[in-house]
Amino acid sequence: MRTAIVDDVIDTAALLDEAQRDSNGAIVLFVGTVRDNNSGRLVTGIDYACYGAMAARELASICAEAAERFATVDIVVEHRIGHLTVGETSLAIAVGHARRATAYEASRYVIEQIKRRLPIWKREEYTDGTREWVDPTAVAVVGPES
């Protein structure tokens, strides 16, 4: 089990390797990337800000909970902060497990808890030069949320 808030490129292949174990038959890797649009606006990049000390602690807690709940220590998560351009990876979650169903469930648990609890904020930059903090609790105008 390993979690980190990083400010450099996330090496998803390394995370996959790290979650692999010979007694596991399944690895589920979730990768979050910067989309080129949100709520109908064209996005050119995102600044990720975080409350560093708390984010590291909270992310570790989420993964410890998942490890206990789903009985696997093969959980590796990295969340990137700083400035990311469209298509870049902001988050990777790798979960290895003997059973595929549980690997999927553990992966979902981690991402949903991250979306709910991790003190990270994103400021989107739009093609018109403006930028805005994203408020996921606001009602979406258009388009799906990733």
Binding site: Y51, A55, S90, R116, P119, W121, K122, R123, D135, P136
Partner: protein
């Protein structure tokens, strides 16, 4: 006693600062800090009961603070 309030993202932008030191009476709670922040210029934009963390852990509004506590007022999170 003295506590430090931290502001982030949209809250830091509107209040134009990232941290504020407050001197409070003993027995002061999380909600006292929120009230003090809300009284500042721009502070009215805070929701009535924002998410708050004390020393890196989410805390309820009625938690009693100690001197030196770090009280973070957390805007809606948007990780991932």
């Amino acid at each position: 006693m003295t506590v430090t309030a931290l502001l982030f993202a949209s809250y830091a932008d509107v209040l134009q600062r990232e941290s504020i030191e407050f001197t409070l009476p003993h027995g002061a709670t999380v909600s006292d800090v929120v009230s003090r922040v809300r009284a500042l210029p721009g502070g009215a934009m805070l929701p009535p009961t924002p998410l708050v963390a004390v020393n890196h852990e989410y805390a309820r509004a009625d938690v009693v603070l100690s001197s030196g506590d770090e009280v973070a007022i957390i805007p809606p999170v948007a990780g991932g």
